[in-house]
């Protein structure tokens, strides 16, 4: 408890004094406190400040909260380490540091919140501080648009949570987290929670803010937002799901939303050429995978299979931690790449592995972890989820079993597409020849250290977590043995192959020298997948050609445009926005009147009010 308090105080000090060192210290303190806390089975409950009776700032930390606090603090520590150097490129350094401290603190306190009031308060603080951070480069038009979009979505999320918490209060009569236990059926409550947390987590179809906000914000902030902020929404969903009487269709809804998000997230990521946009879509994918675990937990609990329910929950929680680690690693490395190349378009990069070998290696580790390749941590959590799905027969309900099997195959498709996407990303950014003239340099050591710690965590968790999980009764393969044997034999063959090598230019089909224009581009790479999934992308090609001759054989010049359908934007967001505009313009005409009209409004309003009062009195 003292450690937590010290950590929070230090973080607050960091915000006030704009000190980077205090941030680091605070993260360490809280990570340590949460780590110690996890090993003991106890809870902390305390009230800090009571505004009016019933509304108070309170803290309630149990193991679930401690797990998320550990995740947030550990990732924030690495990100802060990276930021020590990274933020030097910005003008208002002090402001960035303060805001970042407030942001981290609000995330921690949201997770630690002891009642729904403080949860909502810190949730809103988190939303506001992250909004200011997204808007940090506000002189850019796109950033302003992204910031506004993010602001609207995040306020929508708060609105739904507000509805949910009001309902919760009216059902139970308490705001305190530990006392909330609900017996009656609560469809509206669940839907409000699902939408509220779904928006923040970035579940499709509420995902649209992620690919806008992540590219716009500074990279360390993207790392925090994608790595840990969307996990706070996962925490919220879990926290309330565990105390509500879950029904089967809740689980199916969560599982379905998760599967759709996972698959569509990665499919959209494949056609994305903005490196940070690509990573944002992968956040949607991974949140989908986490949701699948949560949905499975509800389903298996409903059918009373506690072992599999626990396995799904373990998969969801472990993937939450893993995604926080490798996604922030990827955002940090991508941040350095974007900073030195001054572009986010991966079609203009290439060959960076020679100028920045360490960044490339770290990005590769992140890419392999997110693709779920052994022996990294992403593999273990996906394996848990796969194993839970493989045991679908335990539910003894044919229809549900088939649903789970279909989800299983879609999960496999997702994970294979993710691997394809990261081959594309790594290949286009780091390999072959540079596609544009760049003066790049390797990241400085504090940045590399921050990234390196994250990468190390990915490797260690991948290799040693199966040992821990097996001690809890799971049957996972021994990754320590597999990893060791792999490393040993790779080294053996590498040393064997090293002798007698010669360097020569790549064969260019008889051309004298190779140019970057001969290389495959990111668009070219993903073209077969776009063709196969053309029903989802709905690509449209507009070709206009001019010819020298009348019979149209000799082309003078041509122009081709490719468009991919933005399904949710065109069919969900725009209709809602347009409807809002139509209603607003109807109401707007009421305002365009003279004095007499306004007096009439007041008169009508007064009459209605009187009648209403008279009716109910």
């Amino acid at each position: 408890m003292d450690l937590f308090t010290a950590g929070f105080a230090s973080m607050m000090g960091g915000a006030l004094l704009r000190s980077r060192v205090l941030t680091l210290l605070a993260c360490l303190l809280i990570a340590g406190a949460a780590g110690i806390f996890l090993t003991e089975n106890q809870t902390i409950t305390a009230t800090f400040y009571e505004i009016v009776p019933g509304l108070s700032f309170a803290v309630h930390i149990d193991r679930l909260a401690a797990f998320f606090m550990l995740t947030i603090a550990a990732v924030s520590f690495c990100v802060s380490l990276y930021s020590v150097e990274y933020i030097n490129q910005y003008k208002h350094k002090g402001l960035l540091i303060s805001l970042m401290n407030i942001f981290i603190l609000s995330m921690l306190l949201t997770v630690a919140a002891g009642n729904t009031f403080s949860f909502l308060f810190f949730w809103e603080l988190m939303a506001l501080s992250s909004f200011f951070l997204v808007m940090f480069e506000y002189d850019n038009d796109k950033t302003r648009k992204a910031g506004l979009f993010y602001f609207i979505m995040t306020q929508l999320s708060t609105l739904f949570l507000f509805i949910a918490f009001s309902l919760l209060y009216s059902y139970t009569g308490t705001t305190s987290m530990e006392k909330i236990i609900l017996q009656e059926k609560s469809t509206f409550l669940f839907l409000a929670l699902f939408i509220g947390f779904g928006i923040k987590a970035g579940i499709i179809p509420f995902h649209k803010w992620l690919p806008y906000a992540h590219p716009a914000s500074p990279s360390n902030i993207s790392a925090l937002m994608s790595g840990v902020m969307i996990k706070v929404a996962i925490y919220g969903l879990l926290r309330f799901l565990l105390v509500l009487p879950a029904e089967l269709w809740w689980g199916l809804l969560i599982l379905g939303a998760g599967t759709v998000s996972a698959l569509l997230g990665v499919i959209y990521a494949l056609k994305e050429h903005d490196i940070k946009g690509l990573l944002a879509y992968h956040s949607i994918e991974n949140i989908g995978i986490i949701y699948m675990g949560i949905g499975l937990f509800v389903i298996f609990s409903h059918y009373n299979v506690p072992a599999l329910a626990a396995m799904s929950m373990a998969a969801a929680l472990f993937h939450t931690l893993n995604h926080a680690l490798f996604k922030s690693l990827l955002f940090l490395t991508a941040g350095h790449v974007v900073h030195t190349t001054k572009t986010r378009n991966i079609d203009e990069m290439g060959g960076l592995i020679r100028q920045m070998p360490y960044t490339a290696l770290l990005f590769l580790i992140g890419a392999m972890a997110i693709s779920g390749l052994p022996p990294f941590n992403g593999f273990v959590s996906e394996l848990l989820l796969f194993q839970a799905l493989f045991n679908a027969s335990a539910v003894h309900n044919p229809i549900i079993e088939l649903v789970l099997i279909i989800c299983l195959s879609l999960l496999a498709l997702t994970s294979a597409l993710a691997a394809a996407c990261f081959v594309k990303a790594f290949g286009m950014i780091f390999l072959a020849m540079p596609r544009s003239a760049q003066k790049t340099h390797e990241a400085s050591w504090p940045m590399l250290l921050g990234e390196g710690l994250l990468a190390l965590a990915c490797v260690i968790l991948g290799i040693f977590s199966p040992l821990y999980l097996n001690s809890l009764g799971y049957a996972l393969p021994n990754m320590m043995f597999i990893g060791g044997a792999l490393l040993f034999s790779i080294l053996f063959f590498f040393l064997l192959a090293r002798a007698n090598t010669r360097y020569c230019e790549t064969w260019g089909c008889g051309l004298i020298s190779q140019t970057p224009r001969m290389e495959y581009t990111a668009s070219g790479f993903s073209e077969p997948i776009v063709t196969i999934f053309s029903t989802i992308y709905n690509p449209q090609k507009h070709v206009s050609k001019e010819f020298f001759d009348k019979s149209q054989t000799l082309v003078r010049e041509g122009h081709v445009e490719f468009h991919l359908m933005r399904f949710f934007e065109e069919y969900l967001y725009m209709p809602i926005a347009n409807a809002a505009m139509v209603i607003a313009s109807r109401i707007d005409t009421l305002h365009q009147k003279d004095m007499g009209a306004y007096i009439a409004y007041v008169f009508i309003a007064a009459v209605i009010l009187l009648l209403w009062v008279g009716w109910f009195a």
Binding site: N478, A497, I532
Partner: protein, 301 residues
């Protein structure tokens, strides 16, 4: 002991199966074909040659071939080749293959040649589309045999005898074998024509020892998938105990069974033409259908 022997036999026998398929294809075209030991000769020749690396390439290129071979050798632990022994989580096996493919595709992009990029792009596309099929096939296996361990699956088949469902699954496994080993109609191992290349395009920039490793890894992968198919369809002959007789019989049985499958693969390849890349999902849907049907039977039985 059995596990080590599994690896050893898989490594040693793989080039033979590779060449035998070529031989069968040659016979189908009324040619004589290469000598049966050609695979070994080529491997030895490549080992002696110098490795030429592109000046544009990076350490990815140098590590890709060793990683591929090492991964395949570790993956051989998971498949009962000669006998049953060792751990064999079927999903880890699948992901080890994915790991090898990941690095192969990166190496394809590394030299910056158009061929390599084309190969990587196509390979990752095919592997993405076949993945749900593979997982469904594995899920069907786990459903029918009640375990996720390949060695235990073989034991279960040995104990319970053949089942109709396993024949259906075997058809899907055969399609996976064809796809994963880059054979007609998915890919054409014979050609170096850019229209048809997938796997060959990716390893076009490999040479010398690296090429030798890549080719050996590819051959081992084929042997492993054959081993998987056999342990589901016809696991008889696998050594379940470490006696000399059982092991020798296991090796002999494996060679005979492997040659049978190779013969069938050769005939299959000869009877088909390379299909268009974008028609491939149809073939995969067929495999998906077979295994989904199996699961349907199991669920509603």
């Amino acid at each position: 002991m059995i596990a080590l022997l599994n690896i050893l036999v898989a490594v040693l026998i793989s080039p033979l199966f590779m060449t035998f398929i070529k031989k069968v294809k040659a016979w189908a075209q009324r040619r004589q074909g290469p000598p049966l030991l050609q695979g070994y000769y080529t491997f030895m020749k490549l080992l002696k040659k110098e490795t030429v690396l592109s000046t544009n390439s990076s350490w990815i290129m140098r590590w890709a071939a060793p990683i591929n071979l090492a991964v395949m050798i570790i993956a051989a632990l998971f498949i009962p080749i000669v006998g049953i022994g060792g751990s064999g989580n079927i999903l880890l096996f699948l992901y080890l293959l994915a790991l090898a493919k990941f690095f192969m595709a990166l190496a394809g992009l590394d030299a910056g040649s158009t061929f390599g990029g084309m190969g990587s792009s196509r390979e990752m596309t095919i592997s993405a589309v076949i993945e749900p099929v593979t997982v469904i096939v594995f899920a069907a296996l786990a459903y029918v045999l009640g375990t996720m361990d390949i060695h235990r699956m073989a034991l279960a088949v040995l104990a319970n005898g053949p089942q109709a469902a396993l024949v259906l699954i075997s058809m899907s496994l055969f399609i996976i074998l064809i796809v994963e080993t880059a054979r007609v109609p998915v890919d054409n191992p014979e050609t170096h024509l850019e229209l048809t290349m997938v796997h060959e395009a990716m390893i076009l920039e490999q040479s010398g020892k690296n090429l030798a490793f890549m080719e050996l890894a590819h051959a081992i992968k084929q042997t492993l998938l054959m081993g998987l198919l056999m342990s589901v369809l016809f696991p008889y002959g696998l050594a379940t105990e470490t006696t000399l007789v059982a092991l020798v019989f296991g090796i002999g049985a494996f060679i005979v069974k492997g040659l049978c499958i190779s013969f069938f693969v050769g005939l299959f390849e000869s009877s088909m033409a390379k299909s268009r890349l974008f028609l491939l999902p149809n073939l995969f849907m067929l495999a998906y259908f077979f295994s989904f049907l199996t699961i349907l039977f199991e669920v509603f039985a």
